[in-house]
Structure formats: C-alpha cells, structure tokens
C-alpha cells in the first residue's frame, strides 16, 4: 500500500503521540530524561531488509496486534544488546557491563517492552478510538535480521515490501538507545489511515 504525503504525515503524528507516552514510561523506569526522534516511515523491500537490520545482536520484544483486526501486524520494542544490558543494570543498580545476557535481562526486557508497548497502544487507541491490543510478549535475543525477517514471514499478507514505522527513544545519561517499531498488516494500515483522515476533516 502506497501512502500519500498527507497520509504519512498523519501516521507520523500518530507515532509521535504513541511514542511520547512510551518515552514517558521509560523515563519513569530509568529515573532519567528520555529523548525521542521524529517517527520515521520506511517502505523496505524484503530483499533489502539486510541493509536496514543486519547480523548485530539485539533484543526484540514482539507483540502481535489483536483486537478489532485479529492479526493486525506487530509492534516491536527493539534494543541493541549493549543498550539492553545497560538498561537492566540501570534498573537494578548494577554496573557490570562485561557479562552475557541472563534470565534477569530477559525478564527486565519483557517487562519494559510490555509497559512501553502498552503505553504506545493505549495512546493511539485513545486518539483513534480504535482498539489494538498487544498479544503476550515474545522475546528474541539474536541477530536483528533473523528476528525481523521471521516476523515478516508470519504476516498474513504475502508482501514484498514492508512498511515500518519506527521512533527512536534515547536516554543519554545511561547511553540507552531503543526503538519502537510498528509493522502493520495492510488492513490495520488502511483502518488507521481512514481514521486519521476522518479526524483531520473534523478539525
């Protein structure tokens, strides 16, 4: 599905509001300021996914979008391995960076992902009056491309191009860099665009 400039502006605005709520929750959990980027919308051909996400180790907490549209796509909390360790360390008051990921990191990531993605979806649901509920979280600590491609393979639409919208959330004090990525199915995207357009007509 191709988006017009107005449509992609509308989605960007939606991402902005969702991510702002997620950033606030992250900021509360870390007790530190969190800056967010302007949400970026990227249409990526699946053959090119490797140049967007490669072999680097990352943690991805993925949620399937459920609710009015039963398999609506995915929302993902993405964080590099180094940032993930710093995140757990900060939350638990530890300093050891030179360690392998363990169960504690896994629980922390799932919990943080859960809280942030819920905040993101609550905010967008409230704005649009369109319910998107997150499935239980699923965690992958692995090559970023391997995890992302596996999610794309599970999408209901057999697509050659994926539309990703992502917002970067950065905590400078603790050098934590993360992303919230939304990978909507076409049906979800259509519904969001339609609701955003109606809303803008009303203004």
């Amino acid at each position: 599905m191709k988006l017009s400039t107005v449509q992609s502006d509308a989605i960007q605005e939606l991402g902005n509001i969702g991510a702002a709520h997620a950033a606030t929750t992250l900021s509360q959990m870390l007790g530190s300021t969190v800056e967010m980027s302007v949400p970026a919308i990227k249409a990526i051909d699946i053959a090119e996914l490797g140049s967007y996400m490669g072999e680097e180790s990352a943690a991805m907490v993925a949620f399937e979008l459920q609710g009015e549209i039963p398999h609506g796509g995915f929302v993902i909390f993405y964080i590099s391995k180094e940032s993930a360790i710093r995140l757990t360390n900060t939350m638990l008051g530890m300093t050891d960076m030179d360690r392998a990921m363990n169960e504690m990191d896994e629980s922390a990531l799932i919990e943080v992902g859960n809280i942030m993605v819920s905040a993101f979806l609550d905010a967008t649901a409230e704005l649009l009056g369109f319910i998107m509920l997150p499935s239980p979280p699923a965690l992958s600590l692995d090559m970023a491309h391997a995890a992302m491609a596996s999610l794309v393979a599970q999408m209901g639409d057999d697509v050659d191009e994926v539309l990703l919208f992502s917002t970067e959330l950065v905590c400078e004090e603790h050098k934590i860099d993360s992303d919230i990525i939304m990978l909507p199915e076409t049906a979800t995207l259509k519904r969001i665009v339609e609701l955003m357009e109606n809303m803008m007509k009303g203004i």
């Binding site: 699923a138 391997a146 491609a149 393979a153």
Partner: protein
Amino acid sequence: MIGIGEYRIGSFPMMTIGLGSCIGLTIYDETLKIGAMVHIMLPDSAGRQDRPGKYADTAIPLLLKELGALGCKSRSLKAKMAGGACMFEYFGTNLNIGERNAERVRALLKEHNIPLVKEDVGGKIGRSVTFQPANGGKVSIRRANGTSGEL
C-alpha cells in the same frame, strides 16, 4: 549478499546473513565447480510467479533449470541447507514457518532426486551462511551464539 527472495548462480562466493525462519539453500555441482544459493522465506507460492526465489516450491525448480542450462547434470548436484529456526517462542506455537520451510525444501529436493547431504536447521537461533563454489563448494555457518562451523 543475497537478500530475502533473491538467488545467485555461479562460481563466485555468496552469502546470506541473519537467517531466522528463512532457509539458505545451496546446490553445488562438484564436476563443474559452480553452484546456486537462494534465500527462501516461505514454503508455498500459492501460484505467484513474480519472485520465484522467495518460495520453496518456485525456487527449487528454477535453480535446477538454470543450473541445467549451464550444463550441470542433476546426478552431480548436492544440496545443503541452513536456517528454518523459530525465533519467537510464543508465535511459534501456532505457526512454525521455519519448520514448514525446511520440510518443504526436503520434500522438493527428494522429488527432484537431489541429495540433501547436510543441514543445520531449527532451534531458536539466527544463522549466517557463506558458500564458496570455487573452493570445493564449501559452506560455512556462523550462529548468533558465536559458534561457527562447516556444513
């Protein structure tokens, strides 16, 4: 580098990175020292023809046809595959695409009488694969946990 749904044929080194549920399949001709590599994403094309490398059922006949056009005899071809993992446990319970991909590739190779001499599939781990047809068809794997090896 071979992206999702792409394939290459020749004697030059080839590579796929970050295979999750996808399959990296190599078919090597030991007589002519040439080979093919494809990055398969899904088991079934459901009739689609526009990206043959993306699906197991369109990729395998295509590679065999193109290798045949280069003079490869099917009795000197040998296949190896890697990937087919289940990266996310929760979603994996309802629909394990990695496993279905691997099964489909095995079945199709059997149907075309191409021996699958080695495989490194399944589990919950990402893999990157390099293939060197000019170097005896060497297939090397790097796994996300830091281990590596040869197929």
